[in-house]
């Protein structure tokens, strides 16, 4: 575990709390899926929480975020309220996207959260554009783009990295390398399996990080953002991580064995950070108990919010297909 000298009690509490609430939320989602409250594809983030939490901790409100279909964790870490996120998973009108997007398409304007993109690689050019606008308008925001290592093979990855590097745009690329794209192990999809090297070939400042270590991710993100805000151009972080669950709810996991999963579970980012913080005296047992209880309370409330939320009226089906103005 990366020891950070300036890690305060409050900050440690916050990091653990964030990861815990995402974990509890996701576990509840799995249950709600079997109850058919949540439908469609559902991609759990369990095991990967440290990436989102560590990254988002380092952001300011001006920064924008582009995520994938595995986006609920990202959105919660970014500070999108849990009730609307859960309502979105239900498809209710109280959802972040009024239910129209569902689990794969969380969007949130106040958080500058630009989806929830379910085309693998499709979010990368958006992030380049968000950053381009920022640069042209002389804003201070950075566009943060999260994506899996599977996206690296897509042409849109290549075009986006080149544009970002060529134009020295304020983009933070965060590759969540969980070693699999659905059932495809990285060795079977990439001729160069060291993704951070691949990124470096665009002359982008690129680093590999332990994605199971929230403190390491936060430190890397902070460093990267400093570099970017200083005008140094884009940075690429490859976060080595693992998903503990199936790719989505329709996956028999024929492509990996249980031992591999168990080995990675030993590095569970929540357990590891908790153990370390307790042993370092940064947190007390009572903190853990409280956080854990708070997470459950928050998730319960989110479920209640989602349950109570109405459905979008049928009459509004065609609303928002064309906009009548650009939202201010």
């Amino acid at each position: 575990m990366t020891a950070k000298p300036r890690l305060t009690h409050n900050h440690a509490r916050r990091l653990l709390g964030q990861m815990m609430r995402i974990r509890v939320f996701e576990e509840r989602c799995a249950e709600l899926y079997t109850q058919q409250k949540i439908r469609g594809f559902l991609h759990l983030y369990i095991g990967e929480e440290a990436n989102a939490v560590g990254t988002m901790e380092a952001l300011t409100p001006q920064d924008s975020v582009v995520a994938t279909y595995r986006d609920h964790g990202h959105a919660l870490a970014r500070g999108v309220a849990m009730g609307p996120v859960m309502a979105e998973m239900y498809g209710k009108a109280g959802g972040t996207s009024r239910g129209r997007g569902g689990s794969m398409h969380i969007f949130d304007r106040p958080a500058r959260f630009y989806g929830g993109n379910a085309i693998v690689g499709g979010g990368l050019p958006l992030a380049v554009g968000l950053a381009l606008a920022e640069k042209m308008a002389k804003g201070s925001g950075v566009a943060v783009c999260l994506f899996g290592e599977g996206a690296v093979a897509e042409g849109e990855f290549h075009e986006s990295l080149n544009l970002a590097a060529l134009w020295k745009l304020p983009v933070l690329f965060v590759c969540e390398n969980n070693l699999y794209a659905m059932g495809s192990a990285i060795e079977r999809t990439e001729s160069e399996t060291d993704i951070h090297l691949k990124a470096a070939s665009y002359r982008i400042d690129s680093r590999r990080v332990d994605g199971m270590d929230v403190v390491a991710v936060e430190a890397a993100a902070r460093g990267a953002l400093e570099h970017i805000r200083g005008g140094g151009g884009p940075v690429f972080l490859e976060c080595m991580t693992y998903r503990f669950r199936a790719h989505s709810m329709f996956d028999a996991q024929l492509y990996r064995d249980k031992e591999e999963i168990e080995r990675w579970k030993e590095r569970d980012p929540i357990k590891r950070f908790q153990t370390w913080a307790l042993s370092a005296g940064l947190l007390h047992d009572s903190d853990v108990t409280a956080l854990s209880a708070e997470a459950v309370i928050e998730v319960d409330a989110a479920v209640a919010f989602a349950e109570a939320s109405p459905w979008e009226p049928l009459a509004d089906l065609e609303k928002h297909v064309l906009m009548d103005k650009v939202p201010a």
């Binding site: 439908r39 997007g101 794969m104 398409h105 085309i119 693998v120 897509e154 794209a181 659905m182 089906l317």
Partner: protein, 330 residues
């Protein structure tokens, strides 16, 4: 049922078709994302990797343009690839290869090269997968000369169209509606290839013709059954092929029924239904008692919640209502 028939699903029928093709012709191989270890996004190819090995059940990286283009190149060089694109929305990433290469090379080369390639993709809504996974673009693809476009709606066609498509010297796109994969039924144990040209009348009727295909067929048949209870006998035509269209079967039916409802899950404006309507008025205007009616997808990126998703595409009930309104205008 006779001993020669056996229970199966649409998914298994597609799998059996792939297996048969692989066994029949060593030039055939299946290539796409997660067709191997994972067994296919919709479990279509489950077990085939074990049977045929990873050369011929070839997992690809996420690179739609790359592997679809590679399929074209392999077809140019003697192979008979079956390329699977998980979902029609993702195929947009490969559109340059499909439209600018596969569809043009035979003509552009003056007939020197053929592209005997099959591309399979899942299409359609109904699984609450929202606006980047649920569209029905098969009618859109049917605009492109140089391509053939198929939409198997029955077990027989799921089982039988693939081999015929592989024998065709042209690039053939096969669209499998996501809601059909679990469809169960019985199939002749000896079922094999079926011709890929020509529509089929799935239910005869005298009062109106319902022209449809793919995922909407079973809804139209359900509507027709319900309509029969009201004394309206609908003839249901399954197009089977969207390019080329079988004008003769459509016109013959319309000449008998004098009324036609076209049902299509794709977006209405500029969809395949418009083409069918236009052809009908061009070829059978004076035989019509009423203008051809269209019941299509609402023009909206498919929303996630079930009530909105259901309302976005034709359903048995709305088909029934549209048919009734056509036959018995108020």
């Amino acid at each position: 049922m006779s001993a020669a028939r056996r229970k199966t699903t649409y998914r298994e029928a597609v799998r059996d078709a792939i297996r048969e093709a692989m066994l029949r012709d060593p030039r055939v191989f299946l290539m796409g994302e997660d067709v191997g270890r994972y067994g296919g996004c919709y479990a279509v190819s489950k077990g085939l990797l074990q049977e045929f090995g990873e050369e011929r059940i070839r997992d690809t990286p996420l690179s739609e343009s790359g592997f679809v283009g590679a399929g074209i190149g392999a077809a140019l060089n003697g192979m008979r690839p079956i390329v699977e694109v998980m979902s029609v929305n993702f195929s947009l990433l490969a559109l340059d290869q499909i439209v600018n290469n596969a569809a043009t090379i035979p003509h552009m080369s003056g007939g020197q090269f053929a592209v005997p390639l099959v591309i399979r993709m899942a299409t359609g809504s109904g699984r609450q997968l929202a606006a980047q996974h649920s569209h029905s673009l098969e009618g859109w693809y049917a605009h492109i000369p140089g391509l053939k476009v198929l939409a198997p709606a029955t077990l027989e066609d799921a089982r039988g169209m693939l081999w015929s498509a592989l024998e065709d010297p042209n690039p053939v796109l096969i669209f499998e509606h996501v809601q059909l994969y679990n469809m169960e039924g019985e199939l002749d144990a000896a079922a094999g290839a079926v011709p890929i040209s020509g529509a089929a009348i799935r239910r005869p009727g005298r009062d109106l013709s319902i022209v449809t295909y793919g995922g909407s067929l079973s809804k139209c048949l359900a509507a027709a059954t319900a309509l029969a209870g009201e004394g309206i006998e609908a003839e249901v035509i399954d197009l089977r092929s969207l390019r080329p269209l079988d004008d003769a079967t459509i016109m013959a039916s319309v000449a008998r029924t004098r009324r036609v409802l076209i049902v299509d899950e794709g977006w209405r404006s500029g969809g395949i239904s418009a083409e069918i309507s236009a052809r009908i008025v061009e070829q059978a205007f004076y035989e019509l008692d009423a203008p051809p009616a269209r019941l299509c997808g609402v023009e909206v990126p498919i929303p996630y919640p079930k009530h909105l998703e259901d309302a976005s595409v034709p359903q048995a009930e709305s088909i029934r209502a549209a048919a009734r309104a056509l036959v018995r205008p108020t």
